[in-house]
Symmetry: D2
Subunit: 362 residues, 4 copies
């Protein structure tokens, strides 16, 4: 089979003729070449190549989770690939430092020629957001209206179709809901858990009340926030309350999925939970790295433009900042600690439950 | 002179006996040692060592700028040391990744024993903020009241005294005001500059009006922001307007200092401006890295605690987020691009002015 | 129990009075303070704090592996902690960049006062090497004689005692040898494996022979190296040959342990192997990061001293370079790829074997 | 002029249709797509895009230095661009971490299809080496014969032509030789310098002889190395000796250029030397980062292939390791510390010389 392989050459294989001739300066078209425009183009092209790679990984993972059952062997692969995505994201974040070697003045030398091109027109970045789960209903108001309005019709149709498919967020939710983690026979796990959390919150209240460094105003505020936390806890076990909070955007995951994720988190050292826990942790980290990228990107745009408008004919950095926090997708994982108990306070699992969680090399 | 040097040994020189015995776990005191408390202590100790180093650099720079005149040779040293500070800040930012290898649950195993200790009690970090220029009047309201309220009286006195001294911000401002950059004899630089900016802003307005991708609402918003930018520009050359904006927190630097910084920025390639430009750029970067640290730190605290209270008996991450943006010190440098002109649009300097800016190796 | 906790203050908890007063400049003792000596001290103190943390992790892992049996739950913890070590190592490597902000000339201002202190006297670094497995027999000749000769007798005794205990290398080897992975009943796994490798090597020979870009000399050399690889493979299944190669330093692990590691590597997607594979990968990465640190450290020393002698009264960088490669501990893991087969060429495992490797959440 | 600008769209501007369709898997051609081949292609394409950017910067710098005179204003730009190159190199080095998320086994799934493509065929990387100054005469023997032997004739011709032009190394050397730094009228700078170095070396000898931790053998070795350093020093001021050492590869720069670089280094705080010193430091750092890249790259290849042959039909990592150290271009800058004196030992410059080195903002 392998006998008739044709010889491959480095430059042909990487299609370097196409790749390295794809940098045409707008500045050269209208006047003298602006030295830094090459950097500007190449930085963005590298971003797009990495976006392609991230989409390649995410799509392969979406395929796995679209099946009826996710096998453990597949989960190994999924975690491996998510770690690769994180590793790429670290590069993307550091790459902002390379862009920042272009001074604002150097950018001004060709900014006008690029109108109205804008990073908001990156289809791959929008695909990436949609694939992860940033669908219309979660976008901030400004984003809802502007997400599509700089795109051509065909691109818009393509993305709107993509929005109809299950994203990684939805697939993760379904997978969590399917996990048979929460059926314990007669063992009333969540009742015990609830009692433990009540004790923890009472203890927290004592800490606040005994804190001599708080002013009266601060004390009142802290106690109010604690009441908030108490209510959030109550919602965990109350379907109606939960739906209410969910509508207000407090939670994104369904109650069932959230409880499953919480259980995995609490008992993450159990071998059976090793891969699911890694999976959840990876998604949290991808979200965190994306948030960080948005933040650094917004800072960079501000430094580059100040109050000036960008090439897209609008002042980008204000918008970018607004999306930094709100576009977080797996925020329930990120806020999970609210509900965590210290190991020592965890209800002891009965032997029959524990035995289901372990396995052994011998 | 050097003959009578006593031999030095590695461990004695670094005082390792003190350093390596300074980790006492609170968890061991009340129960079983929590494995991760060692990490928690060491991460914070490393932070404090680096803070000491940064203060060492900043104080040496404050000394230089407290003199009547700053010699160029000294400016070389100052820039060199600021770059070292930036290099340390990169470590500090990455170090958050090490802290994040502690899971929220691992933190819960000893959190209760640390009450009410809190990072807000780091005297060195507050010194660092004050030395850079984050004085009372610039702090956000919440910070104004809480900056001192967890400290012992002696520490409070010490810091309040420090606030009375000139910070790097104030010294930089004075130095910029002293620079004889803006006296050009008959050459009306700023008048020409003003004309050029008006043309630039008119051009920007055309770009916005011709942008087909903007909705009506967006169009109105963009034009409003442009008007804002116009007004900001006008303030640059209008003492009264400037004072007004300054009171509202739009600017922190004095008008004179801001114009000097702007001039340096515009002509940064001139050899004479090389060091001053590097100096300004370093300060901007230190601010940016500090902002990024605050942001990552706030994210880390949120991930660790969720809605729970921290050891200081309050929910830290909300506060931390609020200070992220507002505690920026050299924000006028950061926003400088608002006022920059493209090189091609710059008023040409007369030969007599240019000759003052150059020097030559031959 | 928790009622009577005493309040904790930040500075006391971190023992900042000791920590921040432990920087005494030698230069101040004999003359004017050298500004950069503070940096020099603090960089080394931070290194020592991180070394303490790494030793804390390694010792906890050595404890786990010193038990008769390693439970899977423990392996989760072990991998988690090794990843923390890696994360610290990344900081250590980047920290060299901070040291490099000290120019050679700045170092010369206090170098003479430090004689004969030397990094070779860091007990913790030697502990770290010994704990990982860099024992006397593996050290290069130069290192054998000099490892101890700058230390005081008590330190020397302490380390020599440590050498007598099982290191992580030895414990890993024993654990691998204990794994019941290689007993397959009638299934002749290794025989099939051997056949597959022979085919692979024959294929490689074809590739070499058909490579038109090789000169005659290169061709001969490549074929010779292939023969070498063939012999290495043969040794894998031949106890005597293996011992011979082992004596020559080609292998460090025992034959049995190496085969177990190879098997885990080949079938790393199997859920049962997930943690063992991560464990092996972490050890490889720790070794790689340590090698990289040595290399960067040697470069830094060379840049700082050139051909000059260091404070220890010897020219360090030559020595440092010599140890970079040779002091690799888990080099068999690092070279494992030699023996890997492509997945498609792997012998198919019988159902009874496979079933032992899988487990399922449902 | 700017009125008739045509509107620009993001995807068109970046030529994303070409860019994102330039990834064709060899594995798909002959069988099932290997998931990781996409990563393999994209990682290499990103490398090539960055190489293009680095060449863009280097060529612009070569243009500057090819002129008869380098103005200080140009030196500002040159240093700015070299810092950008360094910033890109940091990404290139970190990018190896992304490649390492591909396991050796994953690579084996498509390795055979790539024969005989090889990174040695990257024309841009060879251009980069040649532009920096890695010309035929400096390459190691193995490299001399193999540098061209995998290339097509047209590529070979192109590179051989490039070798005939002045590289950055040669241009830097000429620029250093041209600097009028070393003419001091009656002031016998180098004589004083020589005396000072002799005293320093005598002092070093005392340190070695008084070092109680050295064995007899080590003592002899250290003294021998000191003699070596003495001889190197002597060569600095002896044309014939210098030529001899240069032929043996001890030095690459001419004597005159080396002395100029040394002088700049010694008095780097003088404003006049700020830019030249930064220039030299940047070149040193580029070399260091390239060396580090080679080292990490060789480690990665070893981890991926072990003793197996690579796609180029040869075992790459041994070759890669051999070039790591030897292909250093600006090694004289790197070893400069050998010749540095502590500031306190420097000959005092007469007022007339000093005055030429300073300039002032006031």
């Amino acid at each position: 089979m392998k006998k008739n392989l044709e010889p491959v050459y480095y430059g042909d294989y990487l299609q370097l003729d196409r790749l390295l001739s794809a940098q045409s300066l707008q500045s050269s078209r209208y006047g003298e070449a602006a030295h830094e425009e090459t950097l500007f183009i190449i930085v963005h092209q590298v971003y797009e190549l990495w976006f392609k790679q991230i989409l390649h990984e995410l799509n392969s993972i979406i395929d796995v989770f679209s099946e009826q059952e996710v096998k453990d062997q597949q989960l190994t692969t999924v975690v491996h690939r998510l770690k690769r995505v994180i590793s790429i994201q670290e590069l993307l974040n550091d790459q902002i430092g390379v862009m920042e070697t272009m001074s604002p003045q150097e950018f001004l030398a060709f900014r006008d020629y690029l109108v109205p091109a804008s990073g908001f027109q990156s289809i791959q970045f929008k695909m990436l957001e949609i694939c992860l789960g940033l669908k219309r209903e979660f976008r901030i108001d400004f984003d809802k209206q502007s997400f599509y309005n700089r795109l051509e019709q065909s691109d818009r149709d393509f993305l709107e179709n993509l929005e109809k498919k299950d994203s990684l967020f939805e697939l993760t939710q379904k997978w969590l809901e399917r996990l048979p983690l929460l059926e314990f026979g007669k063992f009333r796990f969540w009742e015990l858990y609830r009692t433990a959390t009540r004790q923890m919150l009472e203890h927290d209240e004592q800490i606040i009340r005994n804190n001599p460094t708080l002013s009266d105003k601060e004390l009142r505020q802290e106690l109010k926030e604690l009441d908030n936390t108490r209510e959030t806890f109550d919602a965990l076990w109350d379907k109606e309350k939960f739906s209410l909070w969910q509508e207000q955007g407090q939670f994104r995951l369904s109650q069932k999925a959230l409880l499953a994720a919480l259980f995995i988190n609490q008992y993450n050292e159990e071998p059976l939970f090793n891969l699911p826990y890694q999976f959840i942790t990876c998604l949290t980290e991808i979200d965190e790295k994306l948030t960080l990228w948005r933040y650094r990107h917004a800072m960079m745009v501000q430094r580059m433009l100040g109050g000036k408008i960008g090439t897209g004919g609008s002042s980008g950095h204000e918008y970018l900042k607004r999306t930094t926090e709100s576009n977080r997708i797996f925020k329930d994982f990120f806020n999970m600690s609210t509900f965590l108990l210290p190991k020592a306070a965890l209800p002891e699992l009965p032997a029959e439950v524990r035995s289901k969680l372990g396995f052994s090399l011998s």
